[in-house]
Symmetry: C2
């Protein structure tokens, strides 16, 4: 049955529009990635009838008119979305930004923004009558799919590169997924997963193939807008790997703009790791032609040398009149410490990269000090404890005696406040 709010799926390459069914993947004409399109007049009318402020549902599904589903059915769902947006004055002062907000999407059920996409994938798989979903992932998409599928009673096959942090692998195993560690790059992992999905006909949750995933991800922008009373910040910073998340962030704002809920798009700050920045390199050169790069960064979630969704990512940057900035691993680790100590937010490396990018963009004069900025933290630091320890250092260790404590304080140069 056709959805009342969805008009179709438009190919990002050839521009043709095809009907949007639950199993729709890439463009049947040219293989391009599809983009779901909406009837904005319909959305506007529905929102006017039932204002958002009066809706009790705190999850991503409160924005039902903006989503390519009729409902979410009767199966159990994790509570995805509704993550906090913190006004972070102390951190803003450190970064030299007048008005800084942290959107902590590490507070999702499996501790990353990817829960928004996976929750959507599970609903669409059910619509398609499938009981098994598969994906390849650097880690977060995988653990979110495994968790959201487990809650709904669906089974999962998950392909992750063997470099994935232990925390993410532990989540997968615990959610009962069939987990295949692939001894190779993310590119290798993606390829073997595609072959397996093809062979066994599983529902495909690879974000660059399945156009609905981005529709889940965009809810982070719908929330940011609502949490700010639909008054747009000047900038929204987000870290970029595959390109799907930045695409989703931009799509959310575009849909809000289309439906008349906001009067302009914020400029998107696209942050990549210096050691792996194919999308930012292309954007900086003003071209859609990107070149593969090695995956040299500790931020595993954005270590993507061959991005699967460069088109949407590059368009998000150009359509929002965006800013690109690359950050080193040291800058990422510094941002982790700043987020923790000044805002009480514990981010994984890729999660802190956005904030590292804001800091650097100010230093480079790419953005104004009197700007308002929302920095999205895409994942929780507990997912990657080894890198957190590496960033934060080891604690002092003492025998349980006062003299040992005094000695340790002395050695560390700690002056004890009253």
């Amino acid at each position: 049955m056709a959805l009342r709010n969805v008009t179709g799926a438009r190919c990002t390459i050839c521009g043709k529009v095809v009907p949007a069914g639950p199993e729709t993947t890439t463009c049947p004409h040219c293989g391009g990635i599809l983009d779901i399109e909406y009837d904005y007049d319909y959305i506007r009318a529905e929102i006017a009838k039932k204002p958002l402020a009066e809706r009790p549902d705190p999850t991503m599904w409160r924005y039902m008119e903006f989503l390519p589903v009729e409902g979410i059915g009767k199966r159990p769902r994790l509570r995805v979305g509704g993550s906090p947006l913190y006004l972070a004055d102390a951190l803003g002062r450190v970064l030299g930004i007048r008005e800084l907000y942290i959107k902590d999407d590490g507070q999702n059920p499996t501790a990353s923004l990817k829960d928004r996409a996976s929750a959507m994938a599970v609903v669409k798989a059910e619509e398609a009558g499938r009981a098994t979903i598969a994906c390849s992932s650097t880690g977060n998409a995988a653990s979110s799919l495994a968790g959201n599928a487990a809650a709904a009673g669906l089974s999962t096959f998950i392909f992750v590169p063997s470099r994935a942090p232990k925390g993410k692998v532990a989540q997968l195993m615990m959610f009962g997924a069939t987990v295949i560690l692939v001894e190779g790059s993310y590119e290798d992992t993606f390829r073997i997963s595609a072959e397996a999905i093809d062979r066994w006909g599983w529902y495909n949750r690879n974000a660059a193939i399945n156009p609905y995933l981005m529709e889940g991800k965009k809810t982070v922008s719908l929330e940011i807008a609502e949490q700010l009373g639909f008054k747009m910040p000047d900038y929204v910073a987000v870290s970029v790997g595959d390109g799907c998340t930045i695409g989703g962030v931009c799509k959310g704002f575009k849909d809000l703009y289309g439906a008349g809920l906001i009067d302009r798009l914020p400029r998107i700050i696209s942050v990549q790791a210096s050691g792996c920045c194919p999308i930012n390199t292309a954007a900086a050169a003003g071209t859609m032609e990107w070149t593969p790069q090695p995956e040299n960064t500790l931020a595993d979630s954005i270590a993507v040398g061959v991005p699967r969704n460069p088109v949407k990512a590059l368009r998000a940057i150009s359509e929002s009149n965006g800013v690109v900035v690359n950050v080193s691993d040291d800058e990422i680790m510094a941002a982790m410490r700043l987020l923790g100590a000044n805002a009480g937010v514990f981010a994984e490396p890729a999660g802190a990269a956005g904030t590292a990018g804001v800091k650097k963009a100010v230093e480079l004069g790419l953005i104004e000090k009197d700007a308002s900025v929302v920095s999205i933290v895409t994942g929780n630091g507990l997912k990657d404890v080894n890198n957190a320890i590496r960033a934060a250092g080891e604690p002092m260790s003492i025998k349980p005696r006062m003299d040992a404590l005094l000695e340790a304080f002395d050695a560390k140069g700690i002056k004890v406040p009253k």
Copy 2:
């Protein structure tokens, strides 16, 4: 200034009532732990004036009339509370329980129920004009204090036993706490922290000393009640270490009962690890006299051989006509797997212990199969990845080729569904 809703603090040992100020710790007469008391008529009248359902604040502070503070001031706060309550039918069937709910308090900002107590501690420290807070903890109280204090701009000194899982220590370091690993038991850690707090006059966030912490923890029960429409379940299961959490859970229901919002207390299922169960041992023997025990369990958060709050814990069990059940480490790990695969909830060992207890209580005939049960998950599994891997096992690992995948499926006996 005296709070309008608080009538005083009653000693749990000698019964004397003293005024409740921000720096109130233990009983000035006998050293007993204090219990904050309320004017229930006042609370009832306030709730009637401003019904809970109409309050937009989704955090623990929505229950302001039930809390020993006038307000939460202007400093930034993490979003504590408002954690999801999942109806977990699939898991209920596995456990043989008619109506099972999982209250996932691992969804708090620092990923444990302890955020509720720490958020309270930070507000009370500010009321007392203190800029430094200290505590000792098996881990979660510490990381929650460090995170909540960092958000508010307060500094922290944290004492943890050296056995604390890396994830928790990483959080502490990242939140900018001064962390002291103590080479000894939790008892040793508690003692040296008490000495240091005494010496330097820091604000004391040790839950067994500071009566306000439990007032924060009790908000988990206020939420459970509201989420169930104030219709009480037959049982609420929670894991028990120090005794403060079960005390808080019971206090929440008692306050709700006092204010006339619920018509009975649920029976509390007190779950301890078989390898460390001093409170349950005393409760089972019908005595308030407990005996120290060794700390033999992988569930670090409840590995407390010398509980600091046995009085409130034992009273919570007796006043609620509770049930006691001890679970082995194997049973805890099995519960971790069941929660993950059947409910999409990833719990740390102590977080899953409550659910392990529900399973065992059914098996032993201690609770009825047609009962309704809420099982509280007190902490997220990402806090203790090593034990999660131990519980869930390692994934298969392959070269990125289809023949390797087929071979691995064969070796594991995996039959691939369509």
